[in-house]
């Protein structure tokens, strides 16, 4: 059984402490593929959020009706339905962004983060808690994509949300909007994050009296 968590933890843990992309390393495909501008990142993040939220709602609501043997099939069916809906809605509301995202909207179906949350959480918890969890995880995903998109657009185009911010003399670093830039960006973000986490852990360790002494003795 999973450890018991409070509702507020359900909401907040996905945002940062268990961020799907930056900590759990899930959903890396869209995080690398469509984050070359901030607008694309946000659209992808919101579409994924929508799918995750609606799927969690249905899975949690019908968890008693869905037989164990066909649960994965049913989850995928539910997810695929909402992805199709998100695809059509995006095309109707923001056709330009839809064009830029292309096939990657349809590929939300295979985003392991979404199926993972259904299997690990929504299928075992009540509807409100599943929705809290989906909201947290979805926001965490949007934050991660926003970070990627921000870095890549600023370096690769010299602009942010389409507005030039680095001046006309800036020579765009084109590699950052190409696929290698995705890997470089996620690599450096993870590097910074892990360095920071480790430093924090070391500090809290040295705060504990006796910890240093034990280390020396060892």
């Amino acid at each position: 059984m999973p450890k018991q968590t409070t509702p507020s933890q359900d909401l907040t843990r996905g945002i940062w402490r268990e961020n799907p992309v930056l900590i759990q390393m899930l959903g890396l495909c869209p995080a690398l593929a469509v984050t070359n501008t901030v607008v694309n990142s946000l659209a992808m993040g919101l579409a994924t959020f929508f799918v995750l939220f609606c799927s969690s709602l249905l899975v949690a609501a019908f968890k008693k009706v869905i037989p164990h043997e066909v649960r994965i099939t049913t989850y995928i069916l539910i997810i695929a339905t909402f992805v199709t809906i998100a695809d059509m809605l995006l095309e109707a509301i923001v056709p330009e962004v839809h064009k830029a995202l292309g096939a990657f909207i349809a590929l939300i179906v295979v985003n392991c983060m979404i199926l993972g949350r259904q299997e690990a959480f929504s299928s075992k918890n009540t509807v409100p808690r599943a929705l809290l969890d989906a909201t947290g995880t979805g926001i965490g995903f949007i934050i991660a994509l926003f970070l990627m998109g921000g870095v890549r657009e600023v370096l690769g185009y010299g602009s942010f949300l389409g507005f030039p911010i680095l001046g006309a003399n800036y020579e765009p670093w084109i590699v950052f909007i190409l696929p290698p830039g995705g890997f470089l960006t996620i690599g450096f973000i993870l590097l910074a994050l892990n360095w920071w986490e480790r430093r924090k852990a070391e500090r809290s360790k040295s705060d504990v009296p006796g910890a240093v002494a034990v280390e020396r003795a060892a």
Binding site: P67, E69, G102
Partner: protein, 228 residues
Amino acid sequence: MSGESTPGAGSRRELPVMSGHIEVPSWRLLLTLGIAGALAGLLIVFVYQATQPRIQAYKALQLRLAVSEVLASPARWDTLYVHDGALVLTPPADVDAGSLEMVFLGYREDGSRVGYAIQGAEAGFQDIIELIFGYNAETNTVLGMKVLANKETPGLGDKIVKDSAFVAEFAGPETPLTGVKSTRATGAANEVDMITGATISSRAVINIINHQLERLGPMLNAYLQEAN
């Protein structure tokens, strides 16, 4: 999970029974999936019906804007359909007009013709490039070009859209077009300077226009002669 075992020899033995799990008859599995599938289908049909008018309207608007742009804002234009090797103003009743290739013939305020707007699509560097271009059949010149859809490399191939100097090259050259490197330009009337670093994308654009004119040229001229 404790039920995991090494694959191979052990895989044929009875699967471990999950704690508190009851065997479900297969008709229930089928029923669940059937109902879920039917509901999913219904939902998708509903959203499709709701969004389709907007999507179609947007596409039509984009096409209108594109025609207007490559023909330098004509006062009006006729939509001509390619049917049976000729251009016709009204397609035969037994043919679905939406399935026919369309060409647009633009007119100025005074009724004189600006030229044709023709769509074309061919493989670029990464994916199909779709574009529309204006063409004056009387002077045999290209009037303008606008890329409608492309997935060319950002920063290199997508200059066929973003490089205004390249796009401006398509205002006025004679056909058939020849792509040249800007350092080797001779100033001939049918030359188009290609983009450094985007040779394949530039050439694709030029080829689309040439191939479309090769194919449709006789029809375009025949239609004009008939109209005169």
